[in-house]
C-alpha cells in the first residue's frame, strides 16, 4: 500500500504494531478520557451517543476505547448522571453496535469499566471508598467505607462487566485507577486508611487492584486488559502517594500480567493543573518514559497534555511509550489522524484546552467542545454540513471566530463567500486575547491560524482593511444574496463616567491589539476574562495594575473549570482587585470608586483601561436591513458570550444559510 505524505513523515505514529494476537494499524489509542453524559439516566446508550461513537470509530485510531461504563446495579460506580451502565445483558445491544462500528473501521475495540468510587454514587447521595475520608470538592457525595463483602462483590461485578463487554464483541477491556476513582482510592494513601489486608503497606493497598486484575483476567483469559494508572497523583502534599509509590503500584500491575498500562496524571482534587492550557505540551512525558523503563515488556500508552501528533511521533521514536493515547484533540477535530496521515496538519482544529468539556460535565451537562460545535449533535441533521439546496453569494462582515466559522461552513456547503474585515488581519478580538493569554499562547493563536489556512484552502475571499458602510453597500448592492453581521463587540465607553482628561481612558481592545501603548500605572475596569487577561499580562510585563469589578467576584464570565486559574494568577501576581465597586470618576490622575458599603476611594493611575461593559457592534444591522435579501447576525455581535458561543453560532448559521 502506498504511504501517504504524513505517514512517511510521522512514520512511528503510523507504524503498525502487534499487540498480543492483534494487528494494530497504528500507534494511536483513542482514550476514554471523558464520559459524554449523552445517555439515559438509567444507563442505556442513546442514538445521540451512537451517532457520536460512529464519528469516534471513524477517527482512524488503531485502538479505540469506548467510554467508561459503571459495573454495578446500585450505581455506586456511577459518576455522571447520564453515564452508561454495563451491569446487565439488557444493555448489550447498543454495546454490540459500538463494538461493530469500531471493528468495521479497522480498530481494536476496548470497553472501559469505570467504577468512580469516591466520585460515584451520583444518584445515591453517598459514595464508597476504602476509608471515610471526606470530599475536598463540593461536587461529590459524602463517603461510606466499603466493606469486605462489598469489595468481593465489586470485584465480581467488574469481572462480569468485562465478560459482558467481550460478549458484546469488544476485543478487550480497561479499568481505570486515576483521578480518584475506586481503584485509585485503594491504591492511594490519601483515601486508604484501612487497617485490614487492603490497607497499610503499599502491597496491601495494591491488593484490591491485583485481585481485580486477576478476576478480570480469569473471566476474559483470551482478551487484553488495560489498566490506567497514575504516574503521579499530585496529592502527595496531603498524604497521597509519591511518584515512587505510583510506580511501585505500576510494577504490581505489571507483575499481575496486565496487557497495557496507560499512564495518567493527577486526581480531580489535586491542587495543580494536569491538562489545562497552562501546562506546556509534553510536560508529563517523563512519567511515560519512566513507566516504559520500569516495564519494558508491557505496552505503555500515554497522552496527557500531549496534543500534538508530531511530538507524539518523536516520543514514539525515542521509545518513551508505545501508543499515543489521545482523546480531547479528537473531540476538537475528529479528522485529526486522517489530516496527519495526509500531511495536512495545518488544517487541524486544535484542542485549545478551554476546558469547556469538563466545565459542562461538572455542571452535570453533556460535554461539548469549543472548537467542534457538532460534538454531541451528530445525530441532529441541523448540525451536518450538507450541500446547500440553493446556491448563494454570501457576504460576511467581520473575520473574527464567528464570521470565519460561518464563512468556512457556508463555503463547504457550496456557497460563494466573501468576508469583509476592517482590520488588517483575520481573528478579530481573539488576536489580542491570545497575545495576552498567560497560559500556552499558541493554543488560542492556533484558532486564528486555522482560519487563515482554511480561508486560503477553500478559496474564501477575505477583503482586509475594508470597512462595510452604506457607501460600500451602494457599490456592491445586489451582488450578495445573504449578509452575515459578525462584527463582534466593543467596550461601551459611553457607559462609563466622562474622563476628565483626554487620552486617560482607553479601551481594552485597543491595548490588547497594540493600538495603544499602556502606561506604567494602570486601572482596569472590569474583572471578567478580558480585563483579567489584560491585567495579568500587563502586570507580568512590569506595569502596576489595579482591577475594579462591579460584581461580588471576579471572573464571572470565565469557563467554570478555568475560573480558579485567573483567581490564582491574580493572587500570584499580587494584582489588587476591588469587587462590588463602581467607578464614579475618571480623573487625570486616576479613578474614584465607590465600594459595596458606599465608601469612596481614590486609586491613582496614569491610564484607565475599560474592559467593561461589552456591547455588540450592531450598527450595521440597521444599515443593511434594506440592502440585502437575507440578513443574519451572529456571535458576540448579537449577545457577547465569548469564544465558544461565537464559534458555535458561526457554524450553525453556516449550516443553515
Amino acid at each position: 500500500m502506498t504511504q501517504r505524505a504524513g505517514e512517511k513523515e510521522l512514520k512511528h505514529l503510523f507504524e503498525p504494531a502487534k499487540w498480543l494476537g492483534f494487528e494494530v494499524k497504528n500507534r494511536i489509542k483513542y482514550g476514554a478520557c471523558c464520559v459524554s453524559n449523552y445517555n439515559t439516566r438509567d444507563g442505556f446508550i442513546t442514538p445521540r451517543e451512537l451517532a457520536r461513537t460512529k464519528v469516534i470509530a471513524e477517527t482512524g485510531c488503531g485502538i479505540i476505547t469506548n467510554q467508561g461504563a459503571y459495573p454495578d446495579p446500585e450505581g455506586l460506580g456511577k459518576a455522571y448522571f447520564r453515564q452508561v451502565a454495563i451491569f446487565d445483558d439488557k444493555f448489550l445491544p447498543q454495546f454490540e453496535m459500538i463494538a461493530r462500528m469500531i471493528k468495521d473501521n479497522g480498530g481494536i475495540a476496548i470497553q472501559q469499566i469505570l467504577h468512580a468510587g469516591r466520585y460515584g454514587g451520583i444518584d445515591l447521595g453517598y459514595c464508597i471508598q476504602p476509608s471515610i475520608v471526606p470530599q475536598t470538592l463540593p461536587h461529590f457525595r459524602p463517603p461510606r467505607e466499603i466493606t469486605k463483602k462489598q469489595i468481593r462483590q465489586t470485584i465480581k461485578e467488574h469481572a462480569e462487566a468485562a465478560a459482558r463487554s467481550i460478549k458484546a464483541g469488544f476485543d478487550g477491556t480497561e479499568v481505570t485507577s486515576f483521578m480518584g476513582y475506586l481503584l485509585a482510592t485503594f491504591n492511594s494513601k490519601f483515601t486508604n486508611k484501612r487497617t485490614d489486608e487492603y490497607g497499610g503497606s503499599i502491597e496491601n493497598r495494591g491488593r484490591f487492584m491485583r485481585e481485580l486484575i486477576d478476576a478480570i483476567k480469569q473471566a476474559t483469559p483470551d482478551h487484553p486488559l488495560v489498566v490506567r494508572l497514575n504516574g503521579t497523583e499530585l496529592m502527595d502534599k496531603w498524604g497521597g502517594n509519591s511518584e515512587d509509590e505510583c510506580f511501585e503500584l505500576m510494577e504490581q500491575a505489571g507483575r499481575c500480567g496486565v496487557d497495557m498500562i496507560s499512564v495518567t496524571v493527577g486526581w480531580q482534587e489535586a491542587p495543580e493543573s494536569s491538562i489545562g492550557r497552562d501546562i506546556p505540551p509534553g510536560h508529563w512525558n517523563y512519567l511515560a518514559a519512566r513507566a516504559k523503563k520500569l516495564l519494558p515488556d508491557t505496552p505503555v500508552a500515554f497522552g496527557v497534555r500531549l496534543p500534538d501528533p508530531i511530538m507524539a511521533n518523536q516520543c514514539l521514536a525515542e521509545g518513551q511509550f508505545d501508543f499515543w493515547e489521545v482523546c480531547r484533540p479528537l473531540l476538537a477535530d475528529p479528522d485529526l489522524i486522517h489530516k496527519a496521515s495526509e500531511g495536512r496538519l495545518n488544517e487541524v482544529k486544535r484542542c485549545i484546552g478551554s476546558l469547556n468539556c469538563l466545565s459542562r460535565l461538572f455542571r452535570d451537562l453533556p460535554y461539548t467542545c469549543t472548537m467542534n460545535p457538532a460534538l454531541g449533535h451528530e445525530v441532529e441533521p441541523e448540525y451536518n454540513v450538507k450541500p446547500a439546496a440553493v446556491h448563494k453569494n454570501v457576504m460576511i462582515v467581520g473575520a473574527g471566530p464567528a464570521g470565519m466559522e460561518c464563512a468556512i461552513t457556508a463555503k463547504r456547503r457550496g456557497h460563494d463567500v466573501v468576508v469583509f474585515e476592517r482590520s488588517e488581519r483575520i481573528g478579530g478580538n481573539l488576536v489580542g486575547y491570545a497575545t495576552h493569554d498567560l497560559a500556552h499562547k499558541n493554543d488560542l493563536a492556533s484558532v486564528v491560524l486555522y482560519y487563515e489556512v482554511m480561508a486560503k484552502k477553500l478559496g474564501i475571499e477575505v477583503r482586509l482593511n475594508t470597512e462595510v458602510n452604506p457607501k460600500l453597500m451602494r457599490g456592491i448592492l445586489h451582488q450578495f444574496d445573504a449578509a452575515v453581521v459578525a462584527t463582534g463587540v466593543r467596550i461601551d465607553m459611553l457607559a462609563l463616567p466622562v474622563p476628565e482628561a483626554p487620552g486617560i481612558l482607553v479601551s481594552a481592545e485597543d491595548v490588547a491589539l497594540g493600538r495603544v501603548s499602556p502606561a506604567r500605572k494602570l486601572v482596569v475596569i472590569g474583572g471578567g476574562k478580558v480585563g483579567l487577561t489584560l491585567a495579568e499580562s500587563l502586570k507580568s510585563s512590569g506595569c502596576e495594575v489595579v482591577v475594579i469589578e462591579r460584581e461580588k467576584r471576579i471572573a464571572g464570565d470565565v469557563m467554570p473549570s478555568w475560573k480558579w486559574r485567573h483567581t490564582a494568577w491574580i493572587e500570584e501576581l499580587e494584582i489588587p482587585t476591588y469587587t462590588s465597586s463602581r467607578v464614579t470618576r475618571i480623573g487625570k490622575d486616576g479613578v474614584t470608586i465607590v465600594d459595596g458599603k458606599g465608601e469612596e476611594k481614590k486609586i491613582a493611575a496614569e491610564m484607565v483601561i475599560a474592559a467593561w461593559p461589552a456591547r455588540g457592534n450592531q450598527e450595521l444591522v440597521g444599515e443593511l436591513e434594506w440592502s440585502v435579501d437575507e440578513l443574519h447576525v451572529c456571535g458576540d455581535c448579537s449577545v457577547p458570550r465569548g469564544l465558544t458561543k461565537a464559534i458555535h453560532d458561526g457554524y450553525l448559521l453556516g449550516c443553515r444559510l
Binding site: Q135, R141, K237, W564
Partner: protein, 150 residues
C-alpha cells in the same frame, strides 16, 4: 523520643487552646463573609498534627441567631463529626489566623487552601451547603471548581 512526643503534644494543645476570645474577634470582624449562613451551620478547624480521635480537638465556628460563635470540641472522627466544612491546617497557619495582627486572614485561608497548605474537607454535599447559606463562603474561597480534572 518520649520527650519529643510530649513536647509535640504540648504544642498541639497550645494551638488548640488559643484564647476563644481571639477566634470570636476574628469572626466578629468578618461578619460579611458569614452573613447568609443559617443557624446551625458549622465550620471546623483541626490541627494537621493531630486529627485522630479521641485526642484531637477542633475549633468550631457555629452560626447562631447572633452570628458566628467560636468554641472548642473534641474531634470524634470523620465518620461521626457533625460539621459542614472542615479545615485541616498546620499550627503556624492556625496561629496566623488567630493573630489579630494578620491583616487579611480569610484571603490567607483562600490562598493556603488553593495551594493545599490548608486542606478543606467538604463534609456535607454541595446542595445541603447551599441550602445552609454557604454559597458566599464557598465562592469567597474559590472552591466551586477547584480540581475537577484540570
Amino acid at each position: 523520643m518520649r520527650r519529643l512526643v510530649v513536647s509535640m503534644t504540648m504544642q498541639i494543645e497550645q494551638v488548640m487552646q488559643l484564647a476563644l476570645a481571639g477566634w470570636q474577634t476574628l469572626l466578629d470582624r468578618h461578619t460579611d463573609i458569614f452573613h447568609s449562613m443559617l443557624p446551625g451551620a458549622r465550620i471546623g478547624f483541626l490541627s494537621k498534627d493531630d486529627f485522630e480521635p479521641p485526642s484531637a480537638m477542633m475549633i468550631v465556628w457555629e452560626a447562631g441567631a447572633e452570628g458566628m460563635r467560636a468554641s472548642y470540641e473534641p474531634f470524634p472522627g470523620f465518620e461521626k463529626v457533625k460539621i459542614d466544612l472542615l479545615f485541616i491546617a498546620d499550627d503556624a497557619a492556625i496561629r496566623r489566623l488567630h493573630d489579630p495582627h494578620t491583616p487579611t486572614p480569610f484571603a490567607e485561608i483562600k490562598s493556603k487552601v488553593r495551594h493545599r497548605d490548608i486542606l478543606l474537607y467538604v463534609v456535607r454535599p454541595r446542595d445541603e451547603l447551599l441550602d445552609c447559606g454557604y454559597e458566599d463562603f464557598i465562592d469567597s474561597l474559590g472552591l466551586s471548581f477547584m480540581g475537577a480534572c484540570r
